[in-house]
Amino acid sequence: MKDALLEVRDLRTVFETRAGRICAVDGVSVAVRRGECLGIVGESGSGKSVTFASVMGLVKAPGRIESGTIVFDGRDLRGLSPRQMRAVRGRDIAMTMQDALTALNPALSVGEQIAEVLEAHDETLPARGAARRKAIRKASIEMLGLVGIPSAETRLRQYPHEFSGGMRQRIMIAIALACRPKLLIADEPTTALDVTIQAQVLELISDIRAKLGMSVALITHDLGVVAEHCDRVMVMYAGQVVEEGPTTEVIGAPKHPYTQGLLASIPRPALRGQPIHPIEGQVPDLIGLAPQCRFYSRCTQRREACLAPVEMRAAGPAHNARCILIGGDEE
């Protein structure tokens, strides 16, 4: 894809478990363009977090990346040594985790945790001594200011437990952004937060994205969040991408029965008095999957042809979905 900052192709990440092989990410291709916000939607176990953990080189045994390419800013990340990868991680690509309380180190002050990133990556700092310490302090205060934490100078000395949930999420964003990364991967940044705080954090990410010109990959299960904050969206189901395209198209005119089902099953005031139509059944077990369409058992429009492997099909100029109903011949 043109002007792609991150381009992942045919990524396959597997976990060898005692119960069997789990293909958590099965042939996922995804591109994040410069300056855009891509939403990644899916239920638990759909592979959305593992996809981006793979990009970050954070998949640990028993998991491993089996195949695929991950190209970031012209470099193949899979070909990098652990040392080279460490230099990318935190400087060029940064990630925030869902649960800020477990992601932050409880034994270090917030200032020390921001300084850690700067120490590791920021080459513009003075080499040593008081000047370096001063510069780090100044940069840390600036970061807390950027994410909207008041009285930053005193707050730097405090520990994670002294902050509220929304504030902790901001601190994690401050740490992630300390080196002005080109790509921020935000893994469910607001799932643990209340709506009024969620609104604050999402707006903060949007503001900073505009200010720093960075790209954002926003992992979420909330289609409302995607509708309001993302340029493009990718829907994942059982380890595969089932639909991707511009947000307005995917949400306004979804092509995959799973996306359609998800949208139809969100209870909302506009549907008062009407029955909601939940998607019946459950996400299939990822062990021993048949080659058929993974949504087959829950799909209301399933037919025999769905029992063969289904590829992504073009549903519009930039809109693709993994369903045989697309393309006219079955409609």
Partner: protein, 336 residues
């Protein structure tokens, strides 16, 4: 007459006093988790209780059932004062008032089978003459909530989150209660499973003539299923009324900002967002006057000193705000 009437209900928690505090005669720190709540629930309706974490909505639900003993106030259920019952009478009353918990992973005993978990209320209330009848009743209710007959001898860990929530629902329903506190029954579940459970709860309500107090932080869910809504902030109800009224014409600035903060698929980019500054204040040291004044863009001097009382603003619609008469809306103000 209302099925459930709650008057002046409070639940306060006293902090522990260490030896230093006792020697110096320091006062107990008191968390007013639920403070002077008045509400009614009519037979057959769904009252939605909405608020952010820490606002006291779950504590209120539990205080109504006396799972947490209220500090003050009265709860009357179908003409009986629940708060005055002794232990034996309360136990009998619990058959008629049940609860469904938020976390389907924490609320089921991992060492009991589904049949044991769901059958326990029957045993406690002596509702089954023998084991065969008990099993029959368990199988019937399990079928009703969508569990397969072969599954009732399994243990909770063998089920997914949605299935476990169905077990919790079966346990609440087996004694044929009239009133159920649904304490965030869907917030731990995935979107497609949420819809299944909501559809199930609505179907059961219709079929069994149930009344729900539905606690949630999700306005979309409440807007979809509730008949009336109560909005809580720091232990108090700030606004209450018919759901259409609250959605179309919220009068309390907190309700307005809560509404505007919800990202919605339908209104992408259209709804004006009110930016609330800061976090929920600590309930240990709540602000004086109106508890919302520290975050309220409309706060005036009166809000900082006097607590506003609930005023009627429409049929069955009340709100507690000093500036109701001026008919201000944050939604207009931010657009200007």
């Amino acid at each position: 007459m209302s099925l459930l009437k709650v008057e002046g209900l409070s639940k306060h928690y006293e902090g522990r006093r260490g030896i230093f505090d006792r020697l110096t005669g320091a006062k107990h720190t008191v968390v007013r988790a639920v403070n002077e709540i008045n509400l009614t629930v009519e037979k057959g309706e769904i009252l939605g209780l909405i608020g952010e974490s820490g606002c006291g909505k779950s504590t209120l639900g539990r205080a109504i059932l006396r799972l947490h003993e209220p500090t003050r106030g009265e709860v009357t259920f179908d003409g009986t004062e629940v708060t005055a019952l002794d232990a034996a009478a309360l136990k009998a009353m619990r058959r008629r008032m049940q609860i469904i918990f938020q976390d389907p992973y924490a609320c089921l005993n991992p060492r009991r089978t589904v049949a044991e978990i769901v059958g326990l209320p029957l045993k406690l209330h002596g509702l089954a003459a023998n084991d065969a009848e008990l099993r029959e009743k368990v199988a019937a209710i399990c079928a009703k909530v969508g569990l397969k007959p072969g599954q009732i001898d399994r243990y909770p860990h063998q089920f997914s989150g949605g299935q476990r929530q169905r077990i919790g629902i079966a346990r609440a329903l087996i004694s044929h209660p009239e009133f159920i506190v649904c304490d965030e029954p869907v917030s731990a579940l995935d979107v497609s499973i949420q819809a299944q459970i909501i559809a199930l709860l609505l179907e059961l309500k219709r079929e069994m003539g149930l009344t729900y107090l539905f606690i949630s932080h999700d306005i979309s869910v409440i807007g979809y299923l509730a008949d009336r809504v109560a909005v809580m902030y720091l232990g108090e109800i700030v606004e209450m009324g018919p759901v259409e009224q609250i959605l179309a014409n919220p009068r309390h600035p907190y309700t307005q900002s809560l509404m505007s903060a919800v990202p919605e698929v339908d209104h992408a980019g259209r709804n004006k967002r009110i930016r609330l500054a800061g976090d929920l204040p600590s309930p240990l040291n709540p602000p004086k006057g109106c508890k919302f004044h520290t975050r309220c863009p409309l706060a005036i001097d009166a809000c900082r000193s006097q607590q506003p009382g609930a005023e009627t603003v429409g049929p069955g619609h009340t709100a507690a705000c000093h500036r109701l008469a001026e008919n201000l809306s944050l939604l207009d103000e931010t657009q200007a």
